[in-house]
């Protein structure tokens, strides 16, 4: 069995962005300390459910970089004690406004190898509309600092933003390439129900149409390609050899442990989701109760379906011959109808199924044929 990933969720931000519907809250240091304490306790109990190896660690959020000094150390120590992971990659998400020299040094010291920076845009107007705390200058500084400190740097780029121009996308890409950013996550804005952004839209904020968003994506894609970034997943681009190993586990049905509020884990064919409320989570851990709210056992069909669903997001596609061997079926028989229906949009060769590049943006419609 291959090594698992470890995901740790930090639900704290200095303020909430207008488009965000993730579990995050502005937390006082006291609240943060109580949470990290609970997290550490949960990590220790994790020993009971997993004894295998782990080789990637991803601290996401929220904004892990806004945690009090020393928090990451506490978390890493607990993980070392519990799982003795042999890390090939250790990512921490950071926001430009809370990533400074001191933070960089602290993270470096904790063993972090990769920084994922929430840059989103280099247009100050756009950043403001999103409710981001940083401006373009801060973002640039953060990127330069991270690169200078020797981290592998991934920068987020949001597409299809209100008022976004091709120029914004172009300057982001040029900057990233020029500064040695190894990885770009370029994902399209989705207006989630109940967020301030959804209200802004109701009140007349104009978003690009689907067609315009698609244009912007295509533009970002071609610009990044020209600059030497390969697209390896629907929304992810990188220099050769710089794929995010941790995220790859999600897309290839690998195993991952999850700690923290609202975290999702998968070990073997068991999936579990931790409860989504910070206070409830903390209280549950403190009282020694289980923190996972839901768990499900994946059936053979679930595994097959999810493998296809996730694998089709990858430009390498999904290795269906291995899948077929594992579950003793012939893919081309089981999915004969879907293969016929999707014929024009896919490449099916040498036991691998993938969506043609030009249809990456309509992947859902194609995946829908296989589920």
């Amino acid at each position: 069995m291959s090594a698992a990933g470890i995901y740790v969720h930090i639900p704290f931000c200095r303020s909430k962005c207008r488009y965000c519907d993730f579990v995050s809250a502005c937390g006082s240091e006291e609240k943060q300390r109580r949470y990290v304490k609970a997290l550490v306790r949960e990590i220790y109990t994790g020993r009971e459910i997993y004894h295998g190896e782990a080789d990637t660690l991803y601290i996401g959020g929220g904004t892990p970089s806004c945690l009090y000094k020393g928090a990451v150390h506490e978390i890493v120590k607990a993980l070392d004690d519990a799982f003795s992971p042999c890390l090939k990659e250790f990512t921490t998400e950071c926001n430009p406004d809370s990533f400074d020299r001191e933070k960089a040094a602290e993270l470096k010291d904790a063993g972090v190898t990769r920084i994922s920076l929430g840059v989103q845009s280099l247009d100050d107007g756009v950043l403001k509309a999103l409710g981001r705390r940083h401006d373009s200058e801060q973002a640039k500084e953060a990127v330069r600092l991270a690169v200078a400190c020797g981290f592998d740097v991934s920068a987020d780029l949001m597409l299809g933003l209100p008022g976004q121009t091709m120029q914004d996308v172009a300057s982001f890409c040029d900057f990233a390439a020029g500064e040695g950013v190894a990885h770009v996550s370029a994902y399209m804005l989705k207006v989630e129900e109940g967020t301030p952004l959804a209200r802004d839209v109701e009140n007349g904020l104009e978003l690009p149409s689907d067609d315009e968003s698609a244009e912007i994506y295509d533009f970002a894609y071609s610009t990044l390609s020209k600059l030497g970034y390969e697209r390896y997943e629907t929304s992810n681009f990188c220099r050769r050899g710089k794929r995010c190993l941790h995220n790859m586990k999600y897309w290839t049905m690998g195993d991952y442990l999850a700690f923290g509020v609202a975290a999702h884990g998968k070990i073997g064919n068991r999936r579990y989701f931790n409860c989504g409320d910070v206070d409830e989570y903390v209280e549950a851990v403190e009282s020694g109760a289980h923190v996972y709210e839901t768990e499900e056992m994946l059936s053979e069909d679930d595994v097959i379906e999810e493998s296809v669903m996730l694998g089709l997001r990858l430009s390498d596609g999904v290795d269906v011959s291995t899948l077929g061997r594992r579950f003793s079926f012939r893919f081309e028989d089981r999915y004969a109808k879907a293969l016929k229906e999707a014929e024009k949009y896919i490449v099916f060769k040498d036991g691998t199924l993938k969506i043609k590049d030009e249809y990456a943006l309509v992947a859902n419609a194609i995946i829908g044929m296989f589920v």
């Binding site: 804005l189 689907d210 067609d211 995220n247 999600y250 884990g265 999810e306 859902n364």
Partner: protein, 600 residues
């Protein structure tokens, strides 16, 4: 013991829709203490959910009541009737069971289309009519003018017409007094052989087919062997009873009575509405005059959204047919929609009501095609075929000419809307016949018009052009030759049979364009570009394009939150179920109805 028929009054209430029939019926039941307070619900006789919600009566409902007047006990049989033009045949059936009718006229609305239709029906059946002015409590009530209207337009003496507010319970006793004093009692012969008219029937899973009857002569009781004239079949009566308004068994029904009869009849078609029942031994020789067969005028295809529920739809139609003899249906197959039924209705409201009942009472999801009429198609070889489904139209080369049903339309309106109405009628290929001022504020306009123009968007246009003031009534006057063409809709190059229409050549371009535009709105973007074309014969007259989808992807898939993604795909899958695959194109069920509802 023969019953004293002079103490019986059989009557119905007729009125234009919404003039207050059902409410007056309720009040009469209150006054006669037919229904205890506990049971009293608004509009008690309207038992169908749809009737209560829409505030309309669809089925006729009889009820027996007792009333004491001048120390004499009287027995009333009241039959509540529908007011809408589509259900005229229901009215005419109930009239046959009565000697008199209460004519309700709304004190502010005055005489309307259906007021007249129903009065003429009542007069045709030799009924005595008592005019009643209702809704006098409304501030806009103008009882004196309305009385004059009744005298001028209908020619009934309205001087002593009771002034009533059924809602407030005002004047109800006056109405009952006139029922006793002015309406004639039945004059049947108790000693003659039993003879009764079936005016309605329904199916009860325990009792079998139940016939609603009006006894004209003689008597009948459980145990009698009866014969039905239409079929000649004989049955043993198992139960007779009256409506209180619940079915309540009685010992005997005799001359003058209105009630029901059960005889373990398995097949509803054996209890044909309009048929006469008599005794098997020494029965009557001649049947009573029956009813005109009603023929459906409006047709549409009805399909289950989920093809697997075809048999459920079939069962549901069978059950509805049991108490709605006017509903016609036969199986049909569409390449686009699969197995379904071509159904015939009396009018658009009837169609809507059947659809609603199918969906609600039988929990079915339906796709309905655009309503049409039936055409006479005269072929080159002289043969004539009746076509109600555009797909069954013979090839254009074989058709000599076609004829379409034509109606005489009566429109009643305040004078200020005469202009817009005439414009509308002209636009709908109408031929002006006549215009009369019924009074200074009311005009009657007559037009000859093709029925297929009336069933398409006419009511809505009429209402919006006259701010709801105009009303419409029509009668079929026959078929007329017309320059009709079949309009086909092609999706991605393939004809979608369920979207085909027969239209007048002059209207074809506008309709074709309208439908193509509308379809462009309702067909979701798919992975490829979809041309939508409207064509006559092989000639394309309109084209729209649904562009290929550009974006349908989950932006992020991080944190291992697979459930979100899965849910999204499942939702997508659910949505797909409501789609019909036409060739390579997925078309939402609503698309088939939208071609009805475009407005220019």
């Amino acid at each position: 013991m023969p019953k004293d028929q002079s103490r019986i009054r059989n009557f119905c209430i007729v009125a234009h829709i919404d003039h207050g029939k059902s409410t007056l019926a309720d009040r009469i039941m209150d006054v006669t203490e037919t229904v205890s307070k506990r049971e009293a619900k608004e509009q008690l006789l309207d038992s169908m959910d749809i009737e209560r919600e829409r505030g309309i009566t669809i089925k006729l409902t009889p009820v027996r009541m007792n009333y004491t007047y001048n120390s004499e006990k009287y027995e009333f049989n009241l039959i509540d009737t529908p007011g809408h033009v589509d259900f005229t045949y229901e009215v005419s059936r109930s009239l046959k069971a009565c000697e008199g009718a209460i004519l309700i006229v709304d004190a502010s609305q005055g005489i309307e289309a259906q007021t007249l239709t129903n009065v003429y029906l009542a007069l045709d059946n030799d009924l005595e009519i008592i005019p009643v002015i209702n809704k006098i409590d409304l501030p806009s009530a103008r009882p004196d003018e309305v009385k004059k209207e009744i005298e001028d337009v209908i020619g009934l003496d309205a001087e002593n017409a009771p002034l009533v507010s059924a809602k407030e319970g005002i004047g109800i006793e006056d109405v009952l007094k006139q029922v006793i004093e002015l309406l004639p009692p039945p004059r049947g012969d108790y000693d003659k052989p039993f003879k009764a008219l079936i005016f309605d029937s329904y199916y009860d899973s325990y009792k079998g087919a139940v016939s609603f009857i009006r006894v004209f002569d003689g008597k009948v009781k459980a145990g009698d062997k009866v014969r039905f004239f239409a079929t000649g079949k004989e049955f043993d009566v198992t139960e007779v009873g009256v409506f209180t308004p619940r079915s309540t068994p009685v010992e005997e029904l005799s001359a003058g009575d209105v009630g029901y009869l059960c005889a373990s009849i398995k097949n509803v078609s054996d209890t044909k509405v309009g048929d006469t029942i008599t005794l098997a031994m020494n029965g009557a020789k001649e049947p009573l005059a029956g009813f005109k067969e009603v023929s459906p005028m409006v047709f549409c295809g009805i399909y289950p959204t989920d093809g697997a529920r075809y048999n459920d739809l079939k069962d549901a139609l069978e059950k509805l047919k049991l108490n709605d003899a006017s509903l016609m249906y036969e199986p049909e197959v569409s390449t686009a929609l699969g197995f379904g039924f071509r159904c015939g209705f009396l009018g658009l409201l009837h169609m809507e009501i059947i659809q609603e009942r199918l969906e609600r009472e039988f929990d079915l999801d339906l796709i309905t095609t655009a309503p049409g009429v039936s055409y006479n198609v005269v072929k080159n070889n002289g043969e004539t075929v009746l076509v109600s489904n555009p797909s069954n139209l013979p090839p254009a080369g074989e058709i000599d000419h076609m004829e379409e049903p034509v109606v005489k339309a009566f429109l009643y309106t305040p004078p200020e809307y005469v202009g817009p109405i005439m414009e509308l009628c002209q636009d709908k290929r109408g031929t002006f016949l006549d215009m009369t001022y019924l009074e200074t504020t009311r005009v009657k306009i007559e037009y000859e018009m093709p029925l297929n123009e009336i069933i398409y968007d006419f009511f809505d246009s009429l209402k919006s052009r006259t701010r709801g003031y105009a009303s419409l009534d029509y009668e079929i006057i026959g078929y007329k030759e017309s320059d009709l063409v079949k309009l086909d809709i092609l999706l991605n190059g393939e004809i979608c049979d369920a979207l085909s229409l027969i239209v007048h050549r002059d209207k074809a371009y506008a309709r074709g364009r309208g439908i193509a535009e509308k379809l462009k709105e309702v067909i979701p973007r798919q992975l490829f570009e979809i041309p939508i074309q409207a064509a006559i014969g092989g000639k394309v007259i309109a084209r729209e394009t649904v562009k290929a989808m550009r974006k349908d992807v989950l932006a992020k898939c991080y944190g291992g939150d697979i459930t979100r993604k899965k849910k999204l795909l499942e939702k997508q899958k659910e949505g797909k179920k409501r789609m019909r695959q036409i060739g390579s194109v997925e078309v939402p069920s609503e698309a088939f109805m939208t071609i009805l509802k475009f407005d220019k």
